[in-house]
């Protein structure tokens, strides 16, 4: 499998976009331990589901503005250079 740097960057951008567009409330209904409810918050280990929810939420919050910028750059580059 040949990796060019550009294809890796594109794949990473698509993955981060996918994480950022996830809708929290739907996941709260599907999963038992949501990150907001604080289940397991006072125990030592929060459990994998709340860890995952925390991770998704923090990635979405941190990367929102940079994602806007990087996505616009990617769109312009793809329009210009195909």
């Amino acid at each position: 499998m040949a990796f060019t740097l550009y294809s890796l960057l594109q794949a990473a951008l698509l993955c981060v976009n996918a994480i950022a567009v996830l809708h929290e409330e739907r996941f709260h209904k599907n999963l038992a331990g949501g990150a907001d409810q604080g289940i397991g918050g006072f125990r030592e280990e929060p459990g994998i589901k709340s860890q995952l929810m925390n991770l998704i939420r923090s990635v979405g919050t941190v990367m929102r503005v940079p994602l806007i910028i990087i996505n616009s750059i990617a769109i312009v580059l793809l329009l210009l250079f195909g």
């Binding site: 990796f3 890796l8 459990g47 860890q51 995952l52």
Partner: protein
């Protein structure tokens, strides 16, 4: 020609003589080295040429000083930026190796079954550097093994007459991309399973880099003994590497305070270790099978 006569004029100024026109350079160099300083025009031209070329021209002097100041400024800036991202002291810990450690560690990677004590020793809560502790991970072996793997891949492809310089870069970047992805996956797994340990990114990088030793051995055996030798070496190095990873990660990740945790979390950590170990033979096979046909 104006340039030429300008240099000749500078040379004549340095020599403090009033020669009207400089001798042509191409004619004089053949006789310039053998002639004595007594003859005026020929060594004058030669010395003028060399002096002008090195130190005589004030513009060249200024340019050289400016360039060296720019270079040192750039070096300082690079050092400052690097120190912000990568803690060099932590990195130095991983490269504090010596020959005996490297030899023993390589032997351990190939035959880990007789090693009894897998704990990483630490003195006063500071982990001992690899020079003093065989179980400590290091980054020297993975780096050297990676470079050796790239060179060996080039050699293997050259033996099969499939070599071209782009393939070397492709091989190196593919292997590097796989390492980065594996370290990221391990970091994600360590975060999700809330493993409380002092496994930093560099530790994971070191443990992922040990598979290059197995790759090198497999490719070498494949080159020497053909396809059957390759598969035998692949099986042997895969099993020993899996054993090594499982033992090392279990003693590093499962610190004493983790042992009292509930069963699902311990199961998660076990799955993480087993997953990391099972991934190694796959990636060894994937990165080397095209080299041994």
């Amino acid at each position: 020609m104006a340039y030429h006569s300008g240099y000749g004029a500078h040379g004549s100024k340095h020599r403090a003589r009033a020669a009207p026109d400089p001798p042509p350079l191409f004619d004089d160099t053949s006789g310039a080295y053998s002639s004595q300083p007594g003859g005026y025009p020929a060594p004058g031209a030669d010395v003028a040429f060399s002096v002008n070329h090195l130190l005589g021209d004030p513009v060249a002097n200024v340019a050289m000083a400016y360039g060296s100041s720019i270079a040192s400024h750039g070096k300082d800036m690079v050092h400052k930026e690097l120190r912000r991202f990568v803690s060099v002291n932590k990195l130095k810990y991983f490269f504090a190796v010596d020959t005996a450690y490297v030899a023993k560690k390589l032997g351990l990677l190939v035959f880990p079954y007789r090693h009894q004590n897998w704990e990483v020793q630490s003195s006063r809560d500071v982990p001992l550097p690899p020079r003093q502790d065989l179980n400590a991970p290091d980054l020297y072996i993975p780096t050297m093994a990676f470079i050796t793997y790239v060179l060996l891949a080039g050699m293997a492809l050259g033996i099969q007459k499939r070599f071209s310089p782009e393939v070397l870069g492709l091989c190196a970047s593919t292997a590097l991309a796989w390492v980065v992805m594996e370290v990221l996956a391990l970091l994600l797994g360590v975060y999700l399973a809330t493993v409380r340990s002092d496994l930093s990114t560099f530790h994971l990088l070191a443990y992922s880099g040990y598979k290059y030793v197995g790759m090198i051995l497999s490719v070498l055996t494949g080159l020497l003994f053909g396809s059957d030798g390759y598969y035998v070496a692949l099986a042997w190095t895969s099993s020993s590497l899996m054993y090594f990873i499982v033992r090392s990660l279990r003693t590093a990740a499962l610190a004493p305070d983790n042992m009292g945790g509930p069963a699902p979390r311990q199961r998660l950590q076990l799955y993480l270790t087993l997953g990391a170990a099972a991934f190694q033979p796959l990636i060894i096979y994937w990165l080397t099978f095209h080299l041994v046909r």
